[in-house]
Amino acid sequence: MDQLFVGIKTALLSMLGTFMPDWLVTVHSVLISATGIAIFGPLTMMYLTLIERKVVARMQNRLGPNRVGKFGLLQPVADGIKMLTKEDIVPYKADKLLHLLAPITIVVPALMVFAVLPFGRGMIAADLNVGILYFLAVSSTTTISIFIAGWGSHNKFALLGAMRAVAQMVSYEVPMVLSLVPALMIAGSLSTGAIVAAQAERWFAFTPWGFVAFIIFYLCGVAEVNRSPFDLAEAESEIVAGFHTEYSGMKFALFYMAEFMNTFTISALAATIFLGGWHGPFLPSWFWFLLKTYILIFVMIWFRGTLPRLRIDQLMGLAWKFLLPMALVNVVVAGFWYMSSGVIRTFGSIACLVVAFMVLTALNRPYVPEKREYTFAEN
């Protein structure tokens, strides 16, 4: 069961190999994994929208979509058809080219990032030896498409939303990259396959520095993907729908698709680097990978169902004045952990991290909730 998909691919290739020249076979092997991703990406996106609506509904003691299909299973199909048939309105003074370019340039990186994710043992589309860097580079280009969306729709709310989104994404990229540094340092290479191999006997999340790095990376990932509690860019209560206010029909569906595919890839990467990728006792490797990723996605949906939203300056403060110093301390602690051994290794690093946490919360006084007392008048 473990090598199911790899077996299918090799069988296909050998079947093709009978009547094709071998250079064409290599082209086809790339094509097969590419179509695999091209099918898997939008499919996860469709059913993530359904899962999100069902989970948030259950948290609110209601059922969630159950009219279309058996348990609402055809709801994504219905949404897709609705999006296709909806009229695509382009504002009068908007820049037609930019308005069209934005959804395209936001979906392409979202799909390209799947190439570097290790879905199972030997199931990586392209095992680049700069895997993580590829991931960061591609996901940093989405800032430009948010700019294009904000500027192209010639709408004040979109402009505000774009400004907020870009400021947020730029300032959350720094702690995100720094939180990856300890994991890369210990694993010794940038490629995702090597990192998963390095976690064979002990997942990084179970080491003290790994746990802190995992939390920081995950929070920055949530911010990078513009999901609650950092969904400032499309804050419906303040600036209507942020940078995609003026989008409707299929273009809006593309934005939606990009957001959910990014949710999947960020959770997948967090699972790969910190939760030991496809390592797992006896279930097939790709099943472990999907299980861990969907657990992390559930946590993101759980955030959305519970937490209110941060304000823009608190969001920036959290990134620059809390997560960044914490990530830097974490790099040092990881180095100390790597060098030392025995008892002082774990307790030393844990103590160090806890002290850093306390110091940072003390320094960020305005963000820590004050104690309030209330008097009761009798008469």
């Binding site: 948290m59 003691n61 159950n66 759980w302 519970t306 937490l307 919360t361 909730p369």
Partner: protein
């Protein structure tokens, strides 16, 4: 406690609710939404929606005597009554036209209070829709007429109380008709 504890405690509440929604009954934290068209909530007796006219047994002998009190009392003025005249022009105690414009009526129930002849009561039927604004939502007399049995079905206790009161008035009227009214001089 530590910095993020409030957020975590809040998230535990939503997780508890999510788990409860699978296992608990609606009262203590389970799924409290009801799937409307298939499963309907029990109707409350005093629930009031648009008014209707009552008739005893056949639609002809409806209780309304076209006294126009409810039309005058109705705050948004949505009732329109024209009295019926028989062939030689004598006014009858029956409305020829009795229209209620449901788009204007705000089902406040004042017509039911003001009607001295127990002719108009508030109905329970709320699934009313019309294709255009004026046409189908302007109910005429025959759309409004409903039997006393229907009234008993939707509002048992009120209907029973009203019927007993009407029987007593009936009996009192019969009694007065049987023995002639005493001359006023001896009335104490």
């Amino acid at each position: 406690m530590f910095y993020g504890s409030g957020v975590l405690r809040g998230m535990l509440v939503t997780l508890k609710n999510m788990i409860q929604s699978y296992f608990c009954k609606p009262e203590d934290g389970g799924l409290f939404t009801s799937q409307y068209p298939e499963k309907r909530l029990p109707e409350k007796e005093r629930f009031r929606n648009f008014p209707f006219l009552i008739y005893d047994k056949e639609p002809e002998n409806l209780r309304c005597v076209a006294c126009d009190i409810c039309a005058k009392e109705c705050p948004p003025k949505c009732i329109y009554i024209i009295r019926d005249f028989d062939t030689d022009g004598k006014p009858l105690k029956k409305p020829k036209i009795f229209d209620i414009d449901l788009t204007v009526c705000m089902n406040c129930g004042i017509c039911e209070e003001a009607c001295p002849f127990d002719a108009i009561y508030m109905d329970h039927e709320f699934e009313i829709s019309g294709r255009e604004r004026q046409g189908s939502l302007l109910y005429h007399k025959d759309d409004l007429l409903k039997s006393n049995e229907h009234f008993h079905k939707i509002r048992p206790t009120d209907a029973a109380a009203i019927d007993t009161r009407r029987q007593e008035d009936e009996a009192k009227k019969q009694a007065v008709k049987k023995e002639p009214p005493k001359p006023p001089s001896t009335a104490s």
